[in-house]
Symmetry: C2
């Protein structure tokens, strides 16, 4: 599962530091850097599994990963994680267990940092702590939106939401290459794979988007927004 271990770059050079690590001093960053190690995952490989201990803070530096809850027979994808973003589950401060699984959707590289060092910095650097709390909060807000979409919209609206999520937040371009599977699409929108495919087909027929191969282009974002909002 784990392919290589190498300390190629340095945290101080990594663009990681522009975001959550922006409030760390060079000394603190060096501390993180010294304990960190880099891992490669092939597409499909599991990064960590729901229920297992959570000794590392994971920073995805290349590729695309997903975090998902393994529920009753099927999965619910909470989010896709692209570079440079972090995976810190709520278990870190509760019982050091993962409450969701993570796996690589595309080939991935990630840096793992010892969680105890992370917690130490939270205690010592209030700016860093605030930034952490802010990120956890943003994650919660995102989850709220997702829950409302999943529980109060019908399939068309949910697929519309997922398409916006992919084009605006993940791939960040309009004709984009869909690197996730239809099953992932279904797990993001809480429906069966077959239903997801059918809705996409309808959207194609109505001229809202094109989907040839795995290249998806939104042609009529206004109408798609409308579908998202009318549920």
């Amino acid at each position: 599962m784990v392919n290589k271990l190498h300390h190629s770059s340095n945290c101080a050079d990594c663009n990681c530091k522009v975001s959550i690590f922006k409030n760390l001093s060079p000394l603190e960053l060096a501390l993180i850097n010294s304990s960190r190690f880099q891992v490669s995952y092939k597409a499909g490989e599991i990064i960590f599994k729901q229920g297992t201990p959570s000794p590392y803070f994971v920073c995805v530096t290349s590729g695309l990963a997903k975090i998902y809850i393994e529920g009753y027979g099927k999965n619910l994808i909470l989010a896709l994680i692209k570079p440079v973003d972090y995976i810190f589950g709520p278990g870190i401060y509760v019982d050091n267990r993962h409450y969701y699984s993570a796996s690589a959707v595309e080939d991935c590289q990630a840096c793992l940092v010892d969680v105890t060092i992370f917690k130490k910095l939270i205690r010592e650097n209030p700016d860093f702590a605030e930034e952490f709390i802010k990120r956890v909060s943003l994650q919660s807000i995102f989850n709220f939106d997702q829950v409302i979409s999943l529980t109060q919209k019908q399939m068309h609206g949910r697929i519309a939401d997922v398409i916006f999520y992919l084009s605006d937040k993940i791939y960040c371009q309009n004709p984009f290459e869909l690197t996730i599977s239809r099953q992932d699409l279904a797990d993001l929108s809480g429906m069966s794979k077959e239903s997801a495919i059918r809705i996409l087909k309808e959207f194609k027929e109505e001229g809202i988007l094109t989907l040839s191969g795995n290249t998806l282009e939104v042609l009529n974002p206004k109408q798609l927004r409308q579908i998202s909002e009318t549920g």
Copy 2:
């Protein structure tokens, strides 16, 4: 909406301090106490509204409240809040807006504390900060369970989950007086009021529970657990 303002008791005497405030020094507790004020809400009254600014940290000291997201046409109840519990939304560290609404289910008393004082203590007291992060994390975990229940179980399983939530976490006794409405029951389980009523009726007919007036008694928790788990 607000009925009385009084500084009757003191934070140091309040059982609030046993939980999240347990790590505060007498001095810090006094700071909270000096800025706090107590408010009464009648059943049905709104405590705060989704989208409005969030200048206070709310501590429910008596009665029962609900926090709920106002979605597309209907509400989703995220949790019931009983004494002594706190309402801190994710907006506090993001844009100081509420991302859900709160209202009194039963007549309530609550203490409001200025959020800036709260944030100040988070910065100054690492133990308090950790306890706060822990509580936010527990909230997230609870939400995960809820999302899975809502998106992957059918109505019977969802109602079973809500009944366990009420008897184990909220009312904490077995024959208990249901002080929430059927609509609230529906908003907790993400279904229509009519469906919720029908499932309850079925459970009664199968001898799983009795429900006379608003007194609900779970007769066969084992079977109810089974229903919860088979979705």
